[in-house]
């Protein structure tokens, strides 16, 4: 939107009087059930600059929005406040409404009286209503100071990066490539294919997994728009939506692309190790290809296993065996720098390792296998040529027991349901039936979850075909020394009787868990995690494939355990979302960036030191700094750092935040907790507490900043000066900051304040610092309770002293 247009906008003229309209939303009974919305509206009407205040059932509804638009026109409103849910949910909605009514969308503010009030104080109606008033007061105080802003536009690079070459990654890459975008598909393993390549058959349709995957793999392999980067890992991600700079390290294969995969090299390779792809059931050599259908179809040398260490070739058998002379032990890792506009994270999941569940005897008893091992055993291309063999005697088992929920839905493993194990077991049971009808099959389960299309039929079929389903997991499994057969003991919870069954083979139906290194991936892409450890979506309902960071999307089991169909669905969805950005070719960035006031800048360079994005540089001759707005991501830590108030943060100016603080502390300051919460983690965490209806004391007032790094010491001091009982500064966990490392500045500043408080003999625990992730609603709630506990011991004198501290500086 150009400057000219803007100047006609309402509120753009500083001389014109401020006219605020306030709308209090009932949200059905979500809010109105606890808060007296009418009372809040009436209260709002009494606030300065407020020309009208209304309450209605659903402000977010079309009527609700139309009302706002109408009022803006009729009552010449130039500021709007909506008191309803979290801005993280509906701010965009209302901003758009304002814009449609010709009001600059940055002249809109929300009061979060649902997640932060009605839902978390269900039983304290009055207190909640009072709190709601405070929240509205704060919103109005801020909105009157808001300024119209222009959003800057950034170009979106029309290239995509897909991390992870499992079926999800492959699908996403193919979709984007077919749309016409250049796609980099990065896979850590030597071949794409992922888990699906290991599986024998897929449920519920029972088609051969590799048969349907292989064509997709080779499509991805030879697609002109896809650059396959196998045996590669992302090392560094810089930049922002539309303009990511990604460093990918391509680890050496030690075999050139001329490899024809003839396999002569592996034949004579003198060293062997259990093959990961066959879960250790088969052997591979130091030079190998993970599996027959691998893409790219090239061999690779495992240098950890190979006899040739360092730069000395001890063994040259493979080199000699290779007719095309493709083996080159001198290959070095290369680092590629990719510029991409969008990123799809499809890093997948790990399979739960049941070794720790000692009562099941995995790794103690050879005939206890995992469901993944089962897949390899039953697979015609597997180590046993598709014959389900008991490892001890290499005979077809006469009886097989499946044990469900191994590592899932249990304190011992993971708390969540792994989603695929029930159907997988049913499928496996039917496979045994099909091949060896004589074999008895028992399935020990807690619940059978056959929720998907065609699942129930499959379940019924299994029952019809005589698979025994026993409700109640075995408490223990042990081996018969002589026969090597296995005993399962447990309670049949339906018949309320103890069972003791003897079988030849036990299959542990293991669950899925987050990749061991998902922490690293999380940091690289500044993602968040849900409590189960999988990556968190921007919104569980409305933006289920977007990551919180703009331009990054999630697909497959990295987001949560899911079956192939769901993975592919989500992959296509993620691709479609990325496509939207790239098709547009540009995106407008929220006008929440730092602005330099050159006249006040002394060139002290404090800001330069703290900026995580190197957006600030020094101008030697002017003795001032320069700010590159495009590079600024808007954490505002520079503004917090500047001793001369020479940097303001658009839409989160000092004045605006101070106004909110003053609003909080206007009445009963000595009973209130002023909480500064960062938009990405802590504020979201508080929202999550609301969504989960976690109850906590009503006297907390949350002030939202984009990053905890924005919280300047003077804010805290102002709160104390105004007699606030306590102050909470909350941000993302160290290392998870959405602005790389800005929250380390937060920590420094708070520590400095603590020292100061100590100097003045103040209760320094009245200032709290907490790292609360978006998933940690519980943590937020308990933190408030904790502070409440502290407050009970805070005396009026203490509070007076703290006022003085600020006066004395």
């Amino acid at each position: 939107m150009t400057q000219e247009v803007l100047s006609q906008e309402k509120g753009s003229d500083p001389r014109e009087e401020v006219r605020v309209g306030v709308y209090v939303c009932h949200c059905g009974l979500n809010i109105a059930g606890t808060i007296n919305c009418q009372e809040v509206a009436e209260f709002a009407a009494t606030l300065p600059h407020v020309v009208l205040a209304k309450d209605n059932r659903y402000t977010c509804s079309d009527q609700g929005q139309d009302l706002i638009k109408k009022d803006i026109k009729e009552h010449r409103l130039n500021r709007v406040v909506v008191a309803s849910c979290s801005p993280r949910l509906h701010e965009p909605t209302f901003r758009q409404a304002c814009e449609e009514a010709g009001l600059n969308k940055y002249l809109f503010e929300m009061a979060n009286i649902r997640e932060h009030c009605s839902w978390v104080h269900l039983s304290e109606k009055e207190a909640a209503t009072e709190k709601a008033k405070d929240l509205v007061r704060m919103a109005v105080a801020k909105v009157t100071l808001l300024q119209p802003e222009t959003e800057s536009e950034v170009q979106i690079i029309r290239k995509a990066l897909v991390i992870g070459g499992g079926v999800a990654g492959i699908q996403a890459a193919l979709d984007l490539a077919d749309t016409g975008y250049k796609v980099y598909l990065v896979e850590r393993e030597p071949s794409i294919g992922g888990r699906m390549a290991q599986i024998d058959k897929t449920f519920p349709t029972m088609d051969c997994s590799i048969c349907i995957l292989a064509p997709k793999m080779s499509d991805a392999g030879r697609h002109p728009n896809i650059q396959l980067l196998t045996n590669s890992e992302v090392q560094e991600v810089k930049g922002y939506i539309g303009n990511f700079k990604v460093k990918v390290q391509k680890k050496p294969r030690f075999v050139t692309d001329d490899c024809s995969a003839c396999g002569e090299c592996a034949k004579i390779c003198p060293v062997t190790t259990p093959n990961e792809f066959d879960v250790g059931l088969a052997t591979r050599h130091a030079i190998y290809t993970p599996f027959a259908q691998a893409v790219p179809s090239k061999y690779i040398v495992d240098r950890n296993l190979c006899l040739n260490k360092e730069n000395i070739i001890v063994c040259d058998k493979c080199i000699k065996a290779c007719e095309r002379k493709t083996i080159d032990f001198n290959m070095k890792p290369e680092t590629l720098e990719l510029d991409v506009g969008t990123i799809i994270v499809a890093t997948g999941a790990d399979v739960y390792d049941p070794t720790s569940l000692v009562n099941y005897g995995y790794t103690k008893f050879p005939n206890v296998i995992t469901s993944l091992e089962f897949e390899r055993l039953i697979n015609a291309g597997g180590p046993s040529g598709g014959h389900l063999l008991c490892p001890t005697d290499m005979q077809i088992p006469k009886s097989v027991a499946f044990v469900q929920c191994v590592g899932s839905r249990s304190e011992k493993g993971r708390l969540y349901c792994s989603n695929v194990c029930c159907m997988n077991t049913i499928k496996d049971a039917l496979l045994i039936r099909e091949h060896w009808p004589e074999t008895e099959i028992y399935v020990y389960y807690v619940d059978i979850r056959a929720y998907g299309k065609g699942f129930e039929d499959l379940y019924k079929r299994a029952r019809k075909e005589g698979v025994h389903f026993i409700r109640g997991l075995p408490s223990e499994i042990w081996e018969d020394r002589k026969t090597r057969s296995l005993w399962l003991v447990g309670e049949n919870t339906l018949l309320r009787e103890v069972y003791k069954t003897n079988v030849d083979m036990v299959v542990l139906s293991v669950g899925l868990e987050p990749k061991a290194d998902s922490e690293a991936v999380q940091r690289l892409f500044t993602l968040s995690k849900t409590p189960d450890g999988f990556f968190m979506e921007a919104h569980p309902k409305l933006r289920p494939v977007d990551a919180p960071t703009g331009g990054i999307f999630l697909a497959g089991c990295a987001e949560s355990p899911k079956d192939i169909k769901d993975s592919v669905t989500q992959a296509s969805a993620a691709a479609a979302r990325a496509n939207i950005l790239m098709a547009k070719g540009k995106v407008t960035i929220e006008a929440i960036t730092s602005k330099l006031l050159p006249e006040s800048c002394t060139g002290c360079q404090m800001c330069v030191k703290v900026c995580p994005f190197n957006a600030i540089s020094v101008n030697k001759e002017l003795k001032k700094v320069n700010m590159v707005e495009a590079a600024c991501s808007g954490c505002g830590t520079c503004s917090a750092e500047c001793p001369f108030n020479a940097i303001t943060m658009r839409h989160f100016t000092d004045d605006q935040i101070l106004a909110q603080i003053d609003a909080v502390t206007e009445f009963d300051a000595d009973k209130k907790i002023v909480a500064f919460c960062c938009n990405w983690c802590s504020y979201a965490g508080a929202d999550f507490a609301g969504v989960s209806r976690m109850q906590y004391p009503t006297n907390v007032r949350v002030i939202r900043t984009m990053c905890s790094g924005r919280v300047a010491p003077k804010f805290v001091e102002r709160a104390f000066a105004r007699g606030a009982a306590a102050v909470l500064v909350a941000g993302c966990h160290l290392g998870d900051c959405h602005y790389i490392n800005a929250n380390y500045q937060t920590q420094k500043r708070v520590e400095r304040l603590w020292k100061k408080m100590e100097k003045f003999g103040l209760e320094k625990n009245r200032l709290q610092l907490a790292w609360i992730s978006a998933a940690e609603g519980e943590r937020f709630a308990s933190k408030i309770k904790e502070i409440q506990g502290i407050l009970n011991s805070v005396s009026p004198e203490e509070i007076e002293n703290s006022k003085k501290m600020v006066e004395r500086g």
Partner: protein, 281 residues
């Protein structure tokens, strides 16, 4: 277990001459070993191989190979080899000699044979010193090191042999250490099949007279020096491949095609013969 004749490379050696005179851990033995292996893998007719050597420890090598062989005067093996090769082009003539022999007293012959692109293979055992005479400094002695004639540290710049060879026009040039036996063997094989002048420098350990005086008392220590210091950089700029005590760049540096002296000589003879049969001349 003790069946000597069973050693796979026995047939490449003059059995009655083994054990050789070289010291414990001397790299010359490894070079001979790699050479034997190369002959074995190419299975060349040993009757058509001539090994020519000069003076110095490695000069004795010609006495150990089970081929026709000649142990010439100091510095002259390449000149001698020139005569052999031109007189009977069917023969594979390989010169194996030391850095002092080939590049000090024999430097002139080396550069001209390379310039002519004469069809011979030159393998240089570079041990940085004159071993046979007791460890004096030579044309490849690195700066600062101690030898019996540089008691205050060597103040002469060393030859960068691969650079020299490349500059003189060798069509194949490689450098390895005696620890890189596999690569060395491959290079020797390449060289043997190459038309024209090929040169392979083998950085070779002399624990007795180089190592001992430069803080590497044992052959193992020298080998570990090779291990730490060597970096494989195929076809990197030979000019930047000087050997220092910290860094030994190894690899293939040159592998080009260029009409060899032998080929041009054949063609010239043909022209001359024709002219004569036309009754000219």
């Amino acid at each position: 277990m003790m069946d000597e004749s069973a050693h796979p490379y026995e047939k490449f050696l003059r059995k009655d001459r083994i054990p050789h005179i070289w010291c414990e851990g001397c790299g010359n033995g490894i070079i001979l070993n790699c050479f034997a292996r190369a002959l074995d893998e190419l299975n060349i007719d040993l009757d058509k191989v001539v090994v020519v050597s000069g003076i110095g420890c490695i000069g004795r090598v010609s006495g150990y190979t089970n081929t026709d062989s000649f142990h010439t005067t100091h510095g002259r093996p390449i000149a001698f080899a020139t005569g052999v090769k031109l007189a009977n082009p069917e023969l594979k003539v390989v010169v194996i000699s030391g850095d002092g022999d080939l590049f000090a007293i024999g430097g002139n012959h080396f550069i001209h044979a390379a310039r002519r692109n004469l069809d011979i293979q030159v393998i240089c055992a570079n041990n940085f010193i004159y071993g046979m005479t007791g460890g004096q400094s030579g044309p490849t002695t690195p700066l600062d090191v101690w030898t019996t004639t540089t008691p205050y540290g060597n103040i002469e710049q060393a030859f960068n042999l691969v650079h020299l060879a490349a500059a003189c026009g060798a069509v194949y040039t490689a450098r390895w250490t005696t620890l890189h036996t596999r690569w060395l063997t491959e290079s020797i094989k390449k060289a043997l099949n190459k038309e024209g002048f090929s040169f392979i420098e083998v950085v070779s350990e002399c624990p007795e007279l180089y190592g001992r005086y430069n803080k590497m008392e044992t052959a193992i220590k020298m080998m570990n020096w090779f291990k730490e210091a060597s970096v494989v950089e195929h076809f990197s700029d030979p000019a930047k491949a000087e050997i220092t005590t910290q860094r030994i760049v190894v690899g293939e540096f040159v592998d080009i095609e260029k009409p060899s002296y032998g080929r041009l000589l054949r063609e010239m003879k043909a022209r001359a013969a024709e002219k004569m049969s036309d009754g000219g001349g």
